[in-house]
Assembly symmetry: C2
Homo-oligomer: 220 residues x 2
């Protein structure tokens, strides 16, 4: 069994590892809203437990065991998100905070029974894929709006951040998951994107926002 703190470190290291191959102390501390010194301490502890490899002043990266644990935590998190949204009627922007707590309930039996009960969902309410028992998950068939060049109508199917101010902005601009839109044009100068909603209204969004909204072709 692992402590909540350990699990949170493992999860953060896993997420950071998608971008940088080796995870640096400062980045990890920033991700967890803590200090570099604390991160160093925990990294050492996790290395002792065989969950990651660590080279002083260079960084760390998860071992096979560490990755497996990370995927299990992510699995729990996303299954709970799905449950909260689908079964309890939580707004998709409310689920994250509660799932942060639920993900630390350690019982594989619970996780697997929940998975069965939910019908083995492949994606959580944010469009992120849910790992199965072995850690395998579907690839997200998603393109950030910033890269979507097709004229064809697109459906919002994922977001790149759980930040509250970001999610608030989305719902303000009526860019919820499942909503349909068309990209009118990309402005090369400042990378802003002009788009039109199914309701007919059109407006321009920043590059930052466009990078964090994922879309896919509208299904027939």
């Amino acid at each position: 069994m692992y402590t909540v703190a350990e699990e949170n470190y493992i999860k953060s290291i896993y997420h950071l590892q998608r971008h940088q191959k080796s995870v640096h102390t400062n980045d990890l501390a920033a991700e967890l809203n803590t200090r570099a010194a604390s991160a160093t301490d925990m990294i050492k502890k996790l290395e002792a437990k065989g969950l990651l490899k660590y080279e002083k002043y260079y960084g760390c990266s998860l071992t096979k065991t560490g990755k497996k644990l990370a995927l299990n935590i992510i699995r729990r998190h996303r299954l709970w998100e799905f449950f909260l949204s689908e079964k309890l009627g939580f707004g998709w922007e409310e689920v994250h905070a509660v799932a942060e707590q639920l993900e630390h309930v350690q019982s594989d039996l619970l996780t697997d029974k929940l998975d069965v009960y939910l019908g083995f969902p492949l994606f959580d309410p944010h469009g992120d894929p849910i790992p199965d028992t072995l850690g395998n998950m579907a690839a997200r068939e998603q393109t950030p709006l910033s890269l979507w060049t097709s004229q064809a109508p697109a459906e919002v199917c994922g977001v790149g951040s759980q930040d509250e101010s970001f999610l608030e902005m989305l719902s303000l601009k009526q860019l919820e998951i499942g909503c349909r839109l068309t990209v009118l044009r990309h402005f090369n100068f400042d990378k802003t994107v002009e788009l039109q909603l199914a309701t007919g209204s059109s407006f321009t969004i920043s590059e930052m926002l466009a990078k964090n909204i994922f879309v896919k072709p509208v299904e027939v």
Copy 2:
């Protein structure tokens, strides 16, 4: 917000308070598998937070605030037990351990939405009543087998302990929740109880066991 340790102390004090009016340090320590010294420390902390009143060498008892918290924790615990049993198909003897973890997820929104989702259940799978938002709960319409004198068939609807060895014994003797039985007689000498199952088999159980099995009249 309260820590997991604090919540567990509050819950234990609440349970002990049903029997003794004032809860003694040693009993509390025993209940929580810890030592008297640790209990003293925590009692002081909880008093400082206004959750209980404490008199040195005498004991402690929950304040109004403390009781409210206790009932909220119990509410969460029993709702999760119901969920695990009803929705996920856990055996009723498996739910307790997992609910011990789930009960510490702190989100009133979650608790209330879960309650709605489950259809405002009144009793958990062990037959214990589930408090509502205000802390009110149904009285358990249950009699311990040791006091059941009626000739009429009875239905097992509750248990007086979550102890593993006890629950194991129950399932071994096929005395699950919901099962039907008739009490053949009470032996005055050693307070054992002879009973007959719906299957026809009959046997005698100890006073200890009889006190911990709750029954109610079979519903028509």
